[in-house]
């Protein structure tokens, strides 16, 4: 059974205080690991896809990395607009569905 565990559950940061979110996973044959951002009451917004260990992707203040057992989402010098819940999901080979973690709620205060 595919499993995704995200930590911490919640993170409170001062503006400019860099930090990392963790996503640990077990999956029978990884096709891709996905990061989404979700604002309250909205649908998830796609951020990154990582396909193989060692791969890294960057977008503005966000950088995602992948190993064989976990992925990290690094937030560098966050701003209040980075406040959101960040969701990690895995997709196994030959399956369409995504298996999500419970998310990390990030609050960035000015």
């Amino acid at each position: 059974e595919d499993q995704v565990t995200q930590s911490p559950e919640a993170l409170r940061l001062q503006e400019g205080e860099s930090s990392s979110l963790n996503c640990s996973y077990t999956v029978s044959g990884l096709r891709g690991l996905f990061w989404y951002r979700q604002d309250p009451g909205k649908g998830p917004e796609f951020l990154f896809t990582l396909y193989s260990a060692g791969e890294e992707k960057e977008k503005e203040r966000l950088k995602a990395t992948l190993t064989k057992k976990e992925s990290f989402l690094h937030i560098t010098a966050p701003k209040p607009e980075d406040s959101a819940t960040y969701l990690c999901a895995v997709q196994a080979r030959r399956r369409g569905k995504l298996q999500f973690g419970a998310g990390t709620q990030v609050v960035v205060t000015p």
Binding site: T49, R94, Q99, A102
Partner: protein, 117 residues
């Protein structure tokens, strides 16, 4: 271009009633997915369509839940005899299919918030 759209955005119903939730995918996306999200949790898979057929319906919780996609575009999720435990955000996503036959990135709609009283 236009993203995934879902209607209604909110639905309030009474226990025992029937509801239909609609999803309009991104134009050209052949794969469509339904997920359900409870407060404080990640989305939970319900069903996946490739074209008109359900490729994987293993996430449907029981036979009160049913989904169709008759023309390979718009999909409707149908819930019979609703229960209070069905209250959640229902999310739809769509994706293209790559040359290898694998699903590409899934793009989500804004969701339908269902409340069963």
């Amino acid at each position: 271009g236009a993203g995934v759209s879902q209607t209604p955005s909110n639905k309030v119903t009474e226990k025992g009633k029937y509801v239909e939730l609609r999803c309009d995918p991104i134009s050209g996306h052949t794969a469509l997915y339904w997920y359900r999200q409870s407060l404080g949790q990640g989305p939970e898979f319900l069903i996946y369509f490739q074209g008109t057929g359900a490729a994987d319906d293993s996430g449907l919780p029981n036979d009160r839940f049913f989904a169709v996609r008759p023309e390979g575009s718009v999909s409707t999720l149908k819930i019979q005899r609703t229960e209070r435990g069905d209250s959640a955000m229902y999310l739809c996503a769509s994706s293209s299919i790559g040359t290898s036959g694998a699903s590409e990135t899934q793009y989500f709609g804004p969701g339908t918030r269902l409340l069963v009283l």
